[in-house]
């Protein structure tokens, strides 16, 4: 098993005809993901290396049975594209786009939470379920199937940790990038809940960073609702207040959202927090080794 994306995933890509969109769509298909459709207004009827392109999500869904959408359009079109996907009945929407206005994300989040669709991202690398499906830009070559569930606000950092785990002989059930924006569609809690219910996942690694309070909230949730071991990492101990550290959501506001507070909150709930990515992988390998 895996969470969110797997061999049942039927992917439609918004922005499939763009340079990046085409590149990653084909990469995802090469990995084995069923990429069944693309959406680009006014390019309906064309195809991208055999992937049929539609003018609207509605047409893509009714013609191909797509159930998962990847959003690869520029920021000013992204919120509209997500809402169109939801309106067309897509159950899972994965938004890669970086730079979406915060108020757009707020409207999208508050609309989606009422029903229908789950959103992962935006500003995220996507989801990889090794051996099953890859949706997004995660470099799949470093990961193999296994029992570690990885959830992260950051891309490269996750690859670093995943890679070290792989070198320790362990693989992943799924790797979920929830993204570095202030209003992610899904939180650590949402994904950890899925990993907790996934029989294949034996250990959960969460990779947080400064800004907001998602890690603190996750700590509470882990304490009350998670039976599986969780290892955490937090980036940004040296970040100065008031500065956005690359990710729009990575900012210490006054005394809010510091890495120290997050690590402390997690440790207070019994979650082991690695000092650096290597140590996180070491702790994970140690726990998994003990469970074998």
């Amino acid at each position: 098993m895996a969470i969110l994306v797997d061999t049942d995933t039927r992917l439609v890509v918004s922005g499939v005809t763009g340079r990046e969109g085409t590149f990653h769509s084909l990469r995802n298909r090469d990995y084995g993901t069923q990429v069944v459709a693309g959406v680009t207004p006014a390019k309906g009827g064309q195809d991208v290396d055999g992937i049929p392109v539609f003018d609207t999500f509605q047409a893509a869904v009714s013609e191909t049975g797509a159930n998962t959408a990847m959003i690869f359009v520029p920021p000013r079109f992204a919120a509209d594209s997500i809402l169109e996907a939801e309106n067309a009945g897509i159950a899972l929407i994965i938004a890669i786009t970086e730079g979406i206005p915060a108020h757009d994300e707020l409207r999208v989040y508050n609309h989606l939470k009422r029903g229908g669709s789950r959103l992962i991202g935006p500003n995220c690398p996507g989801i990889l379920s090794p051996g099953k499906a890859n949706v997004g830009i995660i470099p799949a070559q470093f990961f193999k199937e296994g029992n570690v569930g990885l959830v992260s606000r950051s891309g490269t950092l996750t690859y670093q940790i995943g890679n070290e785990l792989a070198q320790g002989g362990f693989g992943n059930s799924s790797i979920v990038g929830i993204g570095g924006d202030p209003v992610p569609g899904s939180s650590f809690i949402d994904v950890i809940e899925l990993f907790e219910a996934d029989p294949e996942t034996e250990l959960i690694v969460m990779c947080g960073e400064i800004g907001g309070s998602a890690e603190e909230e996750a700590a509470e949730f882990i304490a009350t609702s998670v039976s599986k071991p969780v290892v955490a990492y937090i980036a940004g101990f040296t970040a100065p207040p008031g500065k956005t550290m690359g990710h729009a959501g990575a900012i210490v506001s006054g005394t809010q959202g510091t890495a120290a507070a997050k690590a402390e909150a997690l440790e207070a709930k019994g979650v082991r927090v690695g000092r650096n990515p290597t140590q996180v992988a070491e702790i994970a390998v140690e726990i998994l080794g003990a469970r074998v």
């Binding site: 920021p75 000013r76 730079g99 979406i100 206005p101 915060a102 108020h103 757009d104 707020l106 409207r107 989040y109 508050n110 609309h111 690398p125 830009i137 995660i138 470099p139 070559q141 470093f142 992260s152 606000r153 950051s154 891309g155 490269t156 950092l157 996750t158 690859y159 670093q160 890679n163 570095g180 202030p182 209003v183 990779c207 960073e209 800004g211 907001g212 309070s213 998602a214 909230e217 990492y233 980036a235 940004g236 101990f237 040296t238 970040a239 100065p240 500065k243 956005t244 550290m245 690359g246 990710h247 729009a248 959501g249 990575a250 006054g254 890495a259 000092r275 650096n276 990515p277 290597t278």
Partner: protein, 379 residues
Amino acid sequence: MDLLEYQGKQLFSKHGVPVPDGRHAATVSEAVEAAEELGYPVVIKAQVQIGGRGKAGGIKLASDRAEAEQHAQAILGMDIRGFTVHEVWVEKASEIDEEYYAAIVFDRSAKQPMAMLSRMGGMDVEAVAETDPEAMRMLHVDPLLGFQEFHGRRLAFEAGIAADVIRPVGAMLGQLYDVFVAEDATLVEVNPLLITNAREVVALDAKVTIDDNALYRHADVAALRDASGEDPQERMAKERGLTYVKLDGNVGILGNGAGLVMSTLDVVAQAGGRPANFLDAGGGSKAEAITSAVEVIISDEKVSAVLFNIFGGITRCDEVARGLIEAFRSIEPDVPFVVRLDGTNDVEGRALLAEANLPNVHTEATMLGAAEKVVELAR
């Protein structure tokens, strides 16, 4: 993007939030002319993006032309906690009866805007929040429903403000919410929200932050961006489209991916070093971007060693190596570099570096090893 007080007040006016009449001035004569137009008494306020202007002498009351000239002279050009005053806001003085606090903030945790009101204004709100937490009243607003009259009314009653201004203060909260949404703000703060002797409700200060990602739909606000306060490296990086934050150490840092770069900063600090910057070369970085980034990093004279920490995914390590080699050709850096290349095409990248045999470039196999090495070299 943080707006200056007067820029925030101009947005307020646009959305009907009452503010005192005022004029912008960049010279003493402009300031005096503004004061004469407005009529005395006026207040001359330094326009800098830092708190504590009043204590630093950046806000002065002038009762006549002579005082206006004297204060403008004193304030323009003064240094307030590292910020030079290049412009002032000259404003008709208000008669203060009461001072409240009002704000609309972007509550990331609740993922909703939050309206705030306190009758304890005109002072440090964080101090008020600590000493008298009940004095600060808060209410979330569903962004799809929008601000309703009851939000303002409820906050006004709960904050215990004077009965005669319940309605206008509630209405002002609604207007501040309009500013928040229409201008893509992530913060709209009024401290103090003034009740005059005539019991009029006025925003006496304005602190507004606009979402950078939304500036494309606010040409007027985007045009305000004044780089004069920015650090030279940050300006240079922005021009080149790089994600760079200046810090105060001596270890220059470049990595790919914001999380990895933050982590690299931490690891360098843990090894006893002090990072000079945050620089995310981004996903799929091409050689030119790397070259450009090296220029920005070493233009900071404090930098005495540079760490490249790359985990290649989409980014290819050979491209990074090529960019570094090109940087050495074009600008001949005189500080040592430590390079850790891992991931996609790492073998090729390391081979390129070995072949180029750049002076004073050290490769390391791990992130931790690289951090230790660069800290040693930076000493």
